[in-house]
Amino acid sequence: MAQVSIQEDVLIGVPDEPRLIGGKCPDCGNHVFPMQKDCPKCTGNQIEEVELSTRGTLWTWTVQGFPPKAPPYIGETDPSSFESYGVGYVELPGEVKVEARLTESNPERLEVGMEMELTVVPLKTDEQGNEIVTFAFRPVENK
């Protein structure tokens, strides 16, 4: 089964080398995600597309404990098979904090400041049999 990105101008490199597409302002150095031309920091409008870092630290987090409404959510919403998932902001050094799904959903194993890296998680299988994935961060295993 092939994995496809939820949106190609946000998440590329699925499945093996995922990258988030953000932007960097040439005037003030501010980063944005997702890409937008307008800069909320300096009011410029020439932001250029960049691939964001794939590693950072967990700035804050929560656990989504109930099925979101569908639409807009396309993942599992049946209360009997829904599984809680983590959501957090991961601070990419020198860039931005990105809001993302987390692969970890156990509060005991989530901690502000922990090292995280980019990956993908499946949401659903479409009519063509492709697995639609979105981006997520997972704790970096200490070797």
Binding site: Q64, P68, E91
Partner: protein, 380 residues
Amino acid sequence: MHDVAIVGIGMHEFGRHDGISGMDQGVVAVRRALADARCEWEDLEFAFGGSKDAGSPDTMVSRLGLTGLQFINVHNGCATGGSALISAYNAIRSGTFDIGIAVGFDKHERGAFRVRTRGDRMEWYGESGMALTTQFFGMKINRYMHDFGISQNTLAKVSAKAFRNGAINPMAWRRKPLSEEEVLESAMLSYPLTQYMFCSPGEGGVAIVLVRADKAKEYTDNPVFLKSCVVKSRRFGSFEVFSPHLANEFSVGPTVDASNAAFEMAGIGPEDIDIAQLQDTESGAEVMHMAENGFCEHGEQESMIQNGETEIDGKFPVNTDGGCLANGEPIGASGLRQVYENVLQLRGDAGERQVPNDPRTAYTHVYGAPGISGVTILSR
């Protein structure tokens, strides 16, 4: 510039009212406010009306009277009610009008607010399961607890207080007290926040009659003066709901900006406020908003709440009517509900939940998507 007085307040009960439209509730609130101000609809020169999901407020003229008054609809996210009020305030302050009304009402579908992100290349955000206000609140308080040592038990105490206050408020939705244990043991919706730490979208209506201050005595023996009324949007670097990214650099949110501006306008400080209604979309928000509005240092809330200082009979009563937690959040009406409660308290008319400290100044604060905050300061 003219001073502005509140001379009439009216409310339709908050809660769930099958068979009663949001507009019906707005009309009831207006009629009650007019009766309270001992005046008629045809006396009003203008109206500002706010509703998110319950129709265009200006169409209520066909129910209340086709008098030709200026009626402007206000739609400004979670600050919709507060924005109707600031519009009315400025209309009188500027000298354009002498008397008018701010009305807000709403009726939302059950469950968490559904967010529509279609058509602006943001579909992936909702599709990925991140377009939920509940997550923002969980993440903001989780970080705040980490930084400032707030305990989960304190969050439960805030909810228990809200439901206790709601139980003695005849206009409230949730009128059953809940213990801290019941709050903590309810379903974990968005860690560290449980079901009973969150308010729900609801229904209700509130109307406020405002006049030029020098005419107030024509309408009431107990005028309450609107000393300041401020709405602020976010600045770069603040942490707001529905942000796919945050800047690494930090700036204070719109609540701090609105609070500072409101105190400056009123010429007083946080130490002069006797009672406050603070946005408590969830119990963590009440905790954070105590400090963001200048009423304590970050982290001080832990001992203040554990010591009961924010109870009705405490040193600094907060959310005496049960707040959003016990009243629900009909967006168009929510900010005006806080003003309604403060007017009752300043008049000494709050009945069983009247604060005993003989309040002279009162404070309201709303916060919501997409990073907007409204503050009022009232005095008698």
